[in-house]
Symmetry: C2
Subunit: 167 residues, 2 copies
């Protein structure tokens, strides 16, 4: 195998890191994201554009700033994503009357159909990720992730400055 490793036990592990929830999230994330993109590629979508399409189909009439809030995508990054979806004919920018700055985003018929297709493929793939888990475990996983996501920003506050004291 690798070398003169005793071949009885791996001996090389990341045990310290595996104790960190954040590390496990990152490993799982990077293990899955590439695969997700490959699932979406045949549909001309990537993770970000898929999520935008999803939200626009779910809630037609959103403005770009709304999408930015819901998906936690910075507005500047949204522009190109929406450009792409618009050029593909899946969503349209529609002027908002009463506010000449903003655009409402609406899915086209083709957009709805395309989303349904891509969604089928993606959900099928996603189901495989948890195929070994059982419904309760999947629910616990998602709950845990949501808790972490919510705690993330708040957990930062006091880490700012500190001398050498471990405290």
């Amino acid at each position: 195998m690798t070398r003169g490793t005793p071949d009885t036990a791996p001996a090389v592990r990341d045990a310290d890191l595996r104790r960190l929830v954040g590390y496990n999230i990152q490993r799982a994330s990077s293990a899955v994201m590439g695969a997700v993109n490959r699932v979406l590629k045949p549909y001309g979508l990537r993770r970000a554009s898929y999520s935008v399409l999803s939200v626009v189909v779910e809630t037609p009439g959103l403005r770009q700033a709304d999408v930015s809030d819901v998906l936690a995508i910075e507005r500047p990054n949204l522009v190109q994503i929406i450009d792409g979806l618009e050029k593909a004919g899946w969503i349209t920018r529609r002027r908002v009357d009463g506010d000449r700055r903003a655009y409402e985003l609406h899915p086209t018929l083709a957009g709805r159909a395309h989303y349904t297709e891509a969604r089928g493929a993606l959900e099928a793939f996603d189901a495989k990720l948890t195929a070994s888990l059982g419904d309760a475990a999947v629910a616990a996983l998602i709950d845990g992730l949501n808790a972490v996501e919510g705690a993330g920003p708040e957990a930062e506050e006091k880490e700012a400055q500190r001398g050498t004291a471990t405290s």
Copy 2:
């Protein structure tokens, strides 16, 4: 507020996406990773360099290729990371006798000490992420993540080819 939103209910949600485990992982990941980097910044570390330092402290004598395997970091990307850790005086590259191509990585005394410090801060932060969860839920979360991480690569090879042995 956002606009003419009824302000009684959000109405704008990503419900479809939230059903996908992969999406929840991505959201949690991106909510946490920036914060982790900010926790590590005072120690002159980033996620990747912290993980390398961790593994080298845990298992001195690893070669770079071993670290690459354990952490799923491509070898080319490891080079700069290890350069940085070496220049900071936390690890050393030591020639392997018996193989003049390879280097063994060893932590310095300063490296061990520095890791201990950074680890304290990071584990304290990490604990906050799951502060609302309870031990069983945290264990379930990590188990779920590991299951997904393991399933990720395998869940792909259905469309492409079938029954092709990896080795």
